[in-house]
Symmetry: C2
């Protein structure tokens, strides 16, 4: 193989922290990253297509990790929940995304390299 022993862990991708990598949490954080003003619970629920229960549970996990904050207030006597990313959350999310970019970049290199050998139907 091309890699040498110093390439130990070359494909370990240790930066893919579980807290971000889990698909539903990745969706929640991607949605919040796109909305600096935060998102109401029901809008976020639509965007990530999760059930109330699952979204609540993931929000709690992200909040306990300090990645998002949750504002609760009453609007027209109805409770309203808004979620926002914290500054620490944004910083760690970009770090995770950088590692994800490395995975995509590695794959793109492999595809280019394998290009000629791949059958047209693959």
């Amino acid at each position: 193989m091309k890699e040498t022993p110093k390439d130990k862990g070359r494909y370990a991708y240790e930066g893919l922290e579980r807290i971000f990598h889990e698909r539903s949490r990745l969706g929640i954080l991607s949605g919040l990253a796109a909305h600096a003003e935060g998102l109401l619970f029901n809008d976020l629920k639509q965007l990530v297509a999760l059930t109330d229960g699952n979204l609540s549970r993931q929000i709690q996990i992200l909040q306990e990790e300090g990645l998002i904050e949750v504002e609760k207030k009453f609007v027209n006597n109805r409770p309203q929940t808004r979620c926002l990313m914290t500054d620490a959350g944004k910083k760690r999310f970009w770090e995770y995304i950088n590692e994800l970019e490395r995975v995509v970049h590695d794959a793109a290199k492999s595809e280019k390299h394998a290009g000629k050998a791949r059958p047209a139907t693959a």
Copy 2:
């Protein structure tokens, strides 16, 4: 928010199939994608930094899903195990990588959008 109800599931990322998304399997497949000729068990183990037991278990899962194939033979009276991606495995892996690229692209858009509002220390 900018999205409308038709954006239901905009951040659900349903293409992030668990079989590929799990970090250790993602590493194994990324390593194999970069080596069209396949990789010997011990070389693969180095590259993904997994234990023998964990790597064996993940290889079995990937093999049962038809994503990789495993060749066993004897070289100088010693057993040798080589893993290779199948054509179906390559095809599905590129589909997964395309979805991953969408996550990175979404985040890049968010970062650009938020650029001016972010403090220099963030």
